[in-house]
């Protein structure tokens, strides 16, 4: 099975030992996340809840937002999965 590169955003890197890119396997996004959880326990809960992908997280398979391509059942054929969280910072705060 082909390996997928998963882009980890800064707020989740405490779960990946600081890595901004990690590997995972799986034919669907759900399987990739399950594999990710085995390698980096605790990460799944940050990405999905009982209804699917959390609504403040976007997960892209390639360039496409998985929310619009079948959610966790989106097919993953190697390549890149990017986790893009909502960020509020405009660095205005003193």
């Amino acid at each position: 099975m082909s390996e997928t590169t998963v882009r980890i955003p800064a707020p989740l890197r405490t779960l990946t030992g600081g890595s901004d890119e990690v590997k995972a396997q799986g034919g669907t996004l759900g399987a990739v996340i399950d594999d990710l959880e085995k390698r980096h326990p605790g990460i799944k809960d940050r990405l999905v809840d009982e209804k699917g992908i959390r609504r403040f997280i976007n997960i892209y398979v390639g360039e496409e937002d998985a929310r619009f391509t079948g959610g966790l059942s989106t097919e993953v054929k190697g390549g890149e999965v990017s986790i893009v969280p909502a960020m509020a910072g405009g660095a205005g705060g003193a």
Binding site: R55, A86, M87, G90, A91, G92
Partner: protein, 399 residues
């Protein structure tokens, strides 16, 4: 071989295609793609010209045409005052390999008599022509574009990390009115990234510090300071007078408030956000704003709620205050936002509508991700459930 002027003109006219003024008017009304080129002298165009025409005086035609119109198959319509110079110009362009050239017959004098629409060139001062000369040289800006910028009004939300570089470049570019919303005062810890402020202005209200910097940089720019926090109560008053909004706010409740106001009021929002070494930028043009901005898709693009239906719970949303941010990152993302604002105002280029740029400064990588309109979006979808402002603090506290 023609021997007299009359022979020459008759010969030229036989070799070119001519088009009537009625036909040009019809194409203008129907928005048929064409490049209208006014080949009169600059001074002749001052009282008015056909809307959308570019001016290349016939004396400069051969030298400038390839820079201005690089596509040799572009549909070009030339005109002058009466139809003679444009006929000669049409022959020249054919000689240069342009394949789809027409010459208006008669010309602008008759166009004006018919009462057809005209545009007047902007009234820039000599000092402005000098200050903005590097913009004016750009065919996609020119005096017309520069004048648009001078007549434009942009609201900056925050004079902080993102707002500082955005304000700085928008002011330098000559965006005529900059509103700035910020209730904070300058703190020494801001100066690592908030480049519009300075050590000597620590303790001053940020809106006043920014106004001081801008008036020194470019006296053409009118700064309107709004030294207040944005709320559901004042958002409409704040947005109302401006063409678009550059969002550099630093918290989720305000992001959602800005988004909802953008959809309700039909104002584009150029969005930027940053975290540590990474940034995001995109441009939200709701359907309600799309018709005012020619480069946006007519059906509008997704909104912030399409991208992030819900905010993260507060414990998962650390701020830059807690997590830190690379100062320079603010410059990159803030200037991306300023670029988007200028493009929307000029009506040039391809905006970040439906596209999210993510930037990783450590890897030095820009990525582009597609954003889609959420058909179930509670604000901009076909069946909206949020039609007025909500309790944003409460919405973001639950998460």
């Amino acid at each position: 071989m023609p021997t007299t002027y009359s022979d020459l003109i008759a010969d030229v006219r036989r070799g070119i295609r001519e088009v009537s003024l009625d036909e040009i008017k019809r194409r203008l009304d129907a928005k048929v793609p064409m490049v209208l080129v006014d080949v009169r002298e600059k001074e002749e165009t001052r009282p008015g010209y056909i809307p959308g025409a570019i001016n290349i005086p016939r004396g400069f035609l051969e030298m400038q045409i390839e820079q201005r119109i690089s596509d040799k198959n572009a549909p070009i319509v030339l005109y002058c005052a009466g139809g003679t110079r444009s006929a000669l110009a049409a022959k020249t362009l054919a000689d240069l390999g342009y394949t789809n050239v027409e010459s208006a017959n008669p010309g602008f004098v008759r166009w004006k008599d018919l009462g057809y629409p005209q545009e007047k060139p902007p009234e820039l001062t000599d000092a402005q022509r000098d200050r903005y000369s590097r913009h004016i040289l750009l065919p996609d800006v020119g005096e017309v574009g520069q004048s648009k910028l001078l007549g434009s009004k942009v609201l900056l939300l925050g004079a902080g990390g993102l707002g500082s570089p955005a304000a700085l470049y928008l002011a330098a570019a000559g965006v005529g009115t900059l509103g700035i919303v910020d209730a904070d005062v300058v703190d020494a810890s801001n100066l690592q990234r908030q480049v519009i402020h300075s050590t000597s202005r620590v303790g001053m209200a940020k809106v006043d510090s920014a106004a001081k910097f801008i008036s020194d940089l470019n006296p053409d720019v009118k700064v309107i300071p709004h030294g207040e926090r944005m709320t559901s109560e004042n958002v409409e008053r704040l947005f109302d007078a401006y063409d678009l909004v550059v969002d550099g706010t630093d918290n989720f409740p305000t992001r959602y408030l800005v988004n909802d106001a953008s959809v309700f009021l039909g104002k584009p929002v150029v969005h930027g956000s940053i975290f540590r070494f990474e940034g995001q930028a995109t441009t939200f043009v709701p359907a309600s704003a799309a018709k005012k901005f020619s480069i946006a898709p007519p059906e509008g693009g997704p909104c912030y709620r399409c991208l992030y239906p819900e905010p993260p719970p507060p414990h998962l949303a650390p701020s830059c205050q807690e997590a830190g941010v690379l100062g320079i990152l603010c410059g990159i993302v803030g200037t991306l936002q300023a670029t988007e604002a200028i493009k929307l105002l000029l009506g040039k280029g391809n905006p970040l509508v439906g596209r999210l740029i993510t930037y990783d400064s450590l890897r030095m990588k820009f990525r582009e991700l597609k954003l889609r309109k959420d058909p179930e979006c509670p604000v901009c979808g076909p069946n909206p459930t949020i039609k007025s402002y909500i309790d944003y603090e409460g919405f973001c506290a639950i998460g």
